[in-house]
Amino acid sequence: MQEEGSKTITVIRHAQSQFNLAKLNATADTEFAVQFDKQLKDAEITELGMKQVTIQTSNHAHSQI
């Protein structure tokens, strides 16, 4: 066991989702619709986002976890 108080945890934000991409592409006219479009709930992961996670974080996570 280790002493408490000095430990760190690695907090990671998830990869890109279709919802995030839709929000990025929203215009002022569509922003509200994107925010509450029921088709976008629990948005699926996109391959674009998964490439991000593979490239940007896996090496770090492998060395830390």
């Binding site: 430990k7 945890i9 907090v11 990671i12 830390q64």
Partner: protein, 185 residues
């Protein structure tokens, strides 16, 4: 040890990050770290068991403890009296209407206000911190914890302080795939 939110984007991110990890860390699904419900992308479909089949090696025991309330696990994590109000709206709705859509309708009705209060989210984040500290105390030398979660909730989880409205201060808003080393106090 890895803790992940039950939303699809976090489950899948966790898979891509750790499925080939040499240490093969245990992965536990933690409903308490789901995203703050701000827009439609934060509202899951009711739980059907589909995701347990998609991620067979994950530990879903904390969801299973909810028993008959498991399909609406994301409501169970809400603060009171919001949870009671949302359950009431779902109970009164047409049975053909998806509970997730009932929530989104309510979000639209109250917009630009949000369903979940800073106080409720802060309380949830502080409970998660306590839980993670307990888990960290059980680690052996060389072991570490990773938490795969969501940007808005993370701002509460790693905040050094909260203001008078209980909004997070001295915190960080992570971009997609960004990671942060958080010191457990």
């Amino acid at each position: 040890m890895v803790f992940t939110s039950p939303l699809r984007r976090t489950l899948e991110t966790t898979k891509r990050l750790f499925e080939n990890h040499p240490n093969q860390p245990k992965i536990q699904v933690l409903p308490e770290i789901r995203e703050i419900i701000v827009d439609a992308g934060d509202v899951p479909y009711p739980w059907t068991g589909e995701l347990e089949k998609a991620y067979p090696n994950y530990d879903f025991s904390r969801l299973n403890k909810l028993e008959e309330k498991k399909p609406l696990w994301f409501v169970e994590v809400m603060e009171e009296p919001l949870k009671e109000r949302i359950n009431g709206l779902i109970d009164q709705s047409d049975p053909a209407t998806l509970p997730s859509d009932v929530i989104i309708d309510e979000m639209m009705r109250i917009a630009p206000a949000h369903l979940e209060s800073p106080h409720g989210v802060m309380e949830r984040a502080l409970k998660v911190r306590k839980f993670l500290k307990e888990q960290a105390s059980r680690l052996r030398d060389g072991e570490k914890i990773a938490v795969v979660a969501h940007s808005d909730f993370i701002t509460f989880l790693i905040a050094e302080e909260f203001d008078a409205e209980e909004k997070p201060l001295k915190t960080k808003h992570l971009t997609n795939c960004e990671f942060y080393e958080y010191k457990l106090e």
